[in-house]
Symmetry: C2
Subunit: 179 residues, 2 copies
């Protein structure tokens, strides 16, 4: 297989209050992996113990997916620790993004880090604009995507929840699906 | 790893005019595969030669993903052939759905088969309601999801395009991303 270097890496944002933001990002990684692209990512907020299905899948596929969060922020008892982990995650992300080692890189749940004010959104976007290697695709997920990020992004999709089994029917989360 | 049989399989619909419907479905398959669930799917409309990234990824992962389409319907010169392939695809899908061989099964771009009137949506939903094994998750993607399907589904997400690189900037499709 030959690897084709894209002419312009895209900045892709999956936002909105619906399900499928991270899931669609995983699908992008999977498809890119099928093309022998070099795939990596960092999950900013999710628990290190949750998301087992995606971690195990990535491990089996040889995709590097690094968790830096300590669980749901709104459940966290120590916001300073949550914030510090997220900020360390951004430092790691900056190293990986500039490394040239990837064709597509995921910043999962990264919008929250800006939404909560832990990072300044215009500063993040300026950094991406000047430091992201031209051919690298970057995928960013999470609710509350800052307008400056939406302006900068090439592709923005808003996932809107029409119907949700947990809210509508009270079904418990299902292993292997875990929206 | 132990496989946990879900108590109730979910019917999941990804619809809307935005990107990420199939991609999010692929992410669901990937996550389920990470949980050692038995994963399969049929793509109803896409070309047998397109979607190379997802086919190669599924092949490498051991996920059965069967194409039945003969390309984009709106480019097809022979709608009868397109319709016949889709109808054969539904017969295959019905066999696979009732086989008990899967924990999660994808009907990709299946909404079009109903939207174009090749299959009657209420009949399809009645069949799913009575014939789908209780623990099986079914994922259906495509624009124009019929209201009767949305009523039946447990989880419905509408993907809305906020910004698209091809329409907004005229960028060519990128191998490995291929929205």
């Amino acid at each position: 297989m030959t690897r084709t270097t894209p002419r312009k890496g895209l900045v892709i944002v999956n936002t909105g209050n619906g399900k499928g933001k991270t899931t669609a990002a995983l699908g992008l990684l999977m498809r890119a992996w099928g093309h022998d692209l070099r795939v990596g990512g960092i999950q900013f907020i999710k628990s290190e113990t949750a998301g087992y299905g995606e971690y195990r899948a990535c491990e089996r596929m040889g995709i590097e997916l690094t968790p830096v969060g300590d669980g749901c922020t709104w459940l966290s008892r120590d916001m300073d620790e949550t914030r510090d982990r997220a900020l360390r995650g951004w430092e790691v992300a900056q190293q990986k993004i500039t490394s040239g080692d990837y064709d597509i890189f995921l910043l999962d749940e990264f919008t929250y880090v800006m939404h909560y004010g832990w990072l300044d959104a215009p500063t993040v976007v300026d950094w991406l604009r000047t430091s992201k290697p031209e051919p690298l695709h970057v995928v960013i997920t999470g609710r509350y995507a800052p307008p400056v990020l939406i302006d900068y992004a090439d592709l923005v999709t808003d996932m809107t929840m029409v119907k949700h089994p947990f809210s509508d029917q009270g079904l418990a989360a299902q292993q292997g699906i875990e929206f």
